[in-house]
């Protein structure tokens, strides 16, 4: 018996079967998909979230190398963007997404919340930032602006905490 006719038959049947199988699977897929249609979720400009992170203030430099961390100034980004510069859906003053989320408060019970204390220091709330410039900056329509430091604010009275 010749080899080529047998091979031809096998390959022909395989090719036709693949066609039928693919089209059938596609039809089944469409039927299944129709059953699970869901409405599109709304897209707010800001969403609340929860951050769970180990309390390692004061140790983070050694452990995770925060000395290499920094905040970008607007001048540090390419100035050659021209007309292709990203434009974001706006609503507020800022035209670009914030580079870091805003922390609005602790979800832990205040009695059990014990900030880490470094030996010889009273508090270390923001020790992890090593930049010599202003530690925090915020994106506004005019680019990054320094956040003013509040004089004589006690840690427990600070209304806004930053990461």
């Amino acid at each position: 018996m010749e080899l080529i006719p047998i091979l031809s038959l096998i390959i022909l049947v395989a090719t036709i079967s693949t066609f039928v199988l693919s089209v059938g699977a596609y039809v089944l897929y469409k039927i299944r998909e129709k059953k699970g249609q869901a409405a599109e979720a709304p897209k707010p400009e800001a969403i609340p979230a929860e951050l769970i992170t180990p309390q390692v203030a004061g140790q983070t430099t050694r452990l995770t190398g925060t000395d290499l961390r920094r905040t970008y100034g607007d001048s540090e980004f390419r100035s050659t963007l021209g007309e292709s510069a990203p434009m974001f859906r706006t609503g507020g003053a800022s035209t670009r997404p914030e580079m870091r989320p805003t922390i609005v408060g602790s979800t832990m019970d205040e009695e059990t919340f014990e900030p880490y204390r470094q030996p010889g220091k009273t508090t270390v709330n923001a020790e992890r930032f090593s930049s010599t410039r202003g530690r925090f900056s915020r994106y506004t329509s005019a680019g990054y602006t320094e956040v003013e430091k509040k004089a004589n604010t006690k840690d427990n009275e600070e209304p806004l905490k930053w990461r």
Partner: protein
């Protein structure tokens, strides 16, 4: 050590997509296709009376011309990819890049991944890199993912240093939003974005970060491999990842213009991400979209074969086709979003080149493959020329066998994958191409689609 729970507000905005006028687009399509049809009709009307062939002869003649053209394109495509991949591999072997270890944040977006998230994080703790943190972003999972991930929060002993693991719990918004949330929280200059179900090989960061010594490199694409194997469908996918995807990525790496940074592993310079406007959720292939945006801003994208991500491939045919359907539509959406570079190469020539190659791979190549196979079926059934299909299969199988041999050797993969190349094109690729064809028709018709989620069974740690 205690964990800190904080309420945060995440910026949920994203890049405004280019404005589309669907009506105008449809009218333009109708005009262009109408004009082309009229030109074709005129050519046929002029040339038909000149021919001396009967109808059947004309069919055979047209088929032979089409087939020769197809074979020419096939060989050019094959050998271009193989040669460029070979050049890249040679360059990669010879060149010696210095070690570069800046601080890196690894972003792990998870959605209903309770079975695999622990495995993923554990693989990240074994990375041979001294300076990194892990940020898990739970995208509103409905199962126990949040609980499992929270158990992993803390300082863990890594291979070279302690590694901080943090968790962000946010409402469901899709993978792009989850990755953007992680990037927002990260303070590193470099981020590694991956899938929640992937595991990374220990050398990933060490090898991947070396490329960023070049300040023009904006991102590095990794090497994705199939973790769950030993079933024909999974082995075929493993071969496809090696032969189809990674070989093409090596070829693109030679030009430093990788066209899709894979979702399971991509390392980014944060400045490049900022230039590109971060991830967008308006396409179903956020990775392809982001890659095109980064390329459009003039950044180079490298490929690193030693930065390996092991991912769980779909084990059922239905899931596989669903995945490919989504990929195809997503890639077409990304191409359409960046079509200004497609039409006008003076804006960014590299991007035009990349986009045209994507159009060829996503649109032209599958269509040609489907029609070639249909033609062989028709000539076999109607004209009894069954032996043609054997020679066709034989020729294609030799090409696939050769490239499988090259890729398996280059990537030090399992040799048992090579025999699968004999049925790879006739069965697997044809099936995928038919799904691509269906997805393309749907995308052009503008039919709605949903994201879909693969069911994970969880694979044991490697």
């Amino acid at each position: 050590m205690k964990n800190e729970k904080l309420k945060i507000i995440l910026d949920n905005r994203e890049l405004e997509p280019p404005k589309r006028d669907v009506k105008k687009e449809k009218v333009r399509t109708m005009i262009i296709s109408g004009v082309l049809s009229v030109i074709l009709l005129i050519i046929i009307l002029i040339t038909l009376p000149m021919t001396v062939l009967p109808w059947s002869g004309l069919f055979v003649y047209a088929s032979i011309v089409s087939l020769v053209l197809f074979l020419f394109l096939l060989l050019v495509r094959y050998f271009t990819i193989i040669w460029m991949a070979y050049f890249y591999m040679t360059k990669y072997t010879v060149e010696n890049k210095p070690i570069y270890t800046p601080f890196v944040s690894i972003i792990v977006p998870v959605y209903n991944e309770e079975k695999v998230v622990k495995n993923s994080i554990n693989s990240l703790l074994k990375l041979d890199y001294p300076n990194y943190e892990i940020i898990v972003v739970n995208d509103g999972s409905k199962d126990n993912t949040a609980k499992v991930a929270e158990e992993m929060v803390g300082l863990h002993k890594g291979k070279n240093s302690y590694v901080k693991v943090s968790l962000i719990n946010k409402p469901n918004g899709g993978k792009s939003k989850a990755l953007n949330a992680g990037i927002q929280y990260s303070e590193a200059d470099f981020v590694l974005c991956m899938d929640g179900d992937s595991t990374l090989s220990p050398q990933t960061l060490k090898m991947g970060m070396r490329h960023f010594v070049d300040p023009e490199v904006g991102a590095v694409a990794g090497n994705v491999k199939v973790e769950n194997r030993k079933k024909p469908l999974l082995d075929l996918q493993a071969l496809e990842y090696v032969e189809g995807l990674n070989m093409a990525r090596s070829a693109q790496g030679f030009l430093k213009m990788v066209n899709i940074i894979p979702g399971p592993i991509g390392i980014f310079r944060k400045r490049a991400l900022h230039d590109a406007g971060y991830y967008s959720s308006d396409t179903f292939a956020e990775d392809a979209d982001l890659t095109l945006k980064i390329l459009a801003q003039g950044w180079k994208i490298e490929y690193e074969p030693e930065a390996q991500a092991w991912t769980e491939a779909p084990s059922k045919l239905f899931q596989l086709l669903k995945q490919r359907y989504r990929w195809t539509r997503g890639i077409l959406q990304a191409i359409r979003k960046h079509k200004r570079y497609l039409i006008n190469p003076t804006k960014n020539f590299n991007n035009s080149l990349v986009l045209w190659s994507m159009v060829f791979e996503a649109l032209i190549w599958p269509t040609m493959n489907i029609f070639a196979n249909l033609w062989f079926i028709i000539v076999a059934l109607l004209y009894g020329m069954t032996s043609l299909i054997v020679f066709w299969w034989f020729g294609i199988a030799i090409l696939d066998f050769m490239s499988a041999l090259f890729c398996v050797a280059a990537e030090r993969e399992e040799a048992r994958l090579i025999p699968y190349s004999l049925i790879y094109r006739i069965f697997f690729v044809l099936m995928i191409d038919i799904t691509k064809g269906m997805a393309t028709i749907e995308e052009f018709l503008g039919l709605k689609m949903s994201w879909g989620k693969l069911e994970r069974i969880g694979t044991p740690n490697k």
